[in-house]
């Protein structure tokens, strides 16, 4: 019973962290892309080209390993809990 409770509430808590982190990293990435564009084209007012540049950058970010590393939010706590269970109960 305690185990099921831990798994359910742990999953909910980790999902909240996962969503917040992935939104945050996407937002930082988008901001960096916008800054890159502004630096490369200081006096361009071509909003469509800028949008294409940012969209391309975001697409390649979504395919990257870095974006997928946010999934570690689920993996690391599971490993930590397993290690603590082992360390506490092994002699």
């Amino acid at each position: 019973m305690g185990f099921i409770r831990l798994v359910v509430f742990g999953f909910i808590a980790l999902s909240i962290i996962y969503l917040s982190l992935s939104v945050y990293f996407r937002s930082v990435r988008r901001e960096n892309l916008e800054d890159d564009w502004a630096e490369a084209n200081p006096d361009s007012s071509d909003k469509a080209a800028r949008d294409v540049f940012v969209a391309d950058g975001m697409a390649s970010y979504h395919g990257s390993i870095r974006a997928k590393l946010v999934g570690l939010v689920y993996v690391v706590p599971t490993i930590v809990v397993s290690v603590i269970v082992f360390m506490t109960n092994a002699n």
Binding site: M1, G2, F3, R5, L6, S20, L21, Y24, S27, V28, R30, E31, V81, I84, V85, T88, N89, N91
Partner: protein
């Protein structure tokens, strides 16, 4: 108002500190004297100081609890500075299971056996490090919960609290991260909305001014023309 804010902040820090002091692992240098088992009543508010094992009926009002009696080296500063004097310390020995605090302890019976095995006399002391959490309070009859025990050669052994080091590093990283996320959310989501709301307000008031102007001009057309 400022004093109230400060007071609330101090209160919050104290509460968090108390929870951490209660639930984080601490290490005592002890000499096991004996172990015993005693029936405990669990029907008043001091219930919070006892574990809630999984296989226990929720309506149970008393049960047997195992205890480890020790003589403990006194310390200053949360155990960082050792003193030469000793004091009596009694630990309870209970499973925490999969519930809070998350020690995932299931080996109560084994720990009791190890503690029994380390029993010694003042003449020939066998020292050990006892990892535990919780508070000893004589008036509330609360006991710290023993987590593990390991023998050491000398009572001056250096103890490095690895878990607490990792825990506080993680806590600081988490706080910095949350602040960064909050700042990013504010900068990218709230501020643009506020700006565009401000812009819209400006446009709307400009629009109203213009319409007023048009209305005034239209009304003006009804005025009688210059009489020649």
């Amino acid at each position: 108002m400022r004093k109230l804010k400060l007071g609330l902040r101090v209160l919050a820090v104290l509460l968090v500190g108390m929870v951490l002091h209660y639930s984080l692992p601490q290490h005592d240098v002890v000499r096991v004297v004996s172990t015993y088992q005693e029936r405990q009543d669990l029907n008043d508010w001091t219930r919070v100081f006892w574990a809630r094992p999984d296989d226990q009926s929720a309506t149970l009002v008393n049960r047997d609890v195992q205890f480890i009696q020790t003589v403990k080296k006194k310390t200053w500063l949360l155990g960082f500075v050792q003193r030469d004097t000793t004091e009596a310390m009694v630990y309870r020995n209970e499973d925490t299971g999969f519930s809070w605090p998350f020690y995932f302890k299931f080996d109560t019976a084994n720990l009791q056996t190890e503690a029994d095995d380390l029993r010694s006399t003042p003449e020939a002391p066998k020292w050990a490090v006892m990892t535990h959490y919780g508070w000893r309070n004589e008036f509330l009859s609360s006991f710290p919960n023993a987590i593990s025990i390991r023998p050491i050669d000398s009572p001056d052994a250096r103890i490095i609290p690895w878990f607490n080091i990792f825990f506080f590093v993680f806590l600081i990283v988490a706080i910095v991260m949350i602040r960064a996320m909050w700042a990013q959310f504010w900068e990218r989501t709230i501020d643009p909305v506020m700006d565009s709301a401000g812009d819209r307000y400006d446009e709307a008031s400009a629009g109203i001014a213009e319409r007023k102007g048009r209305l005034a001009r239209w009304l003006g057309t009804w005025k009688s023309k210059d009489k020649r």
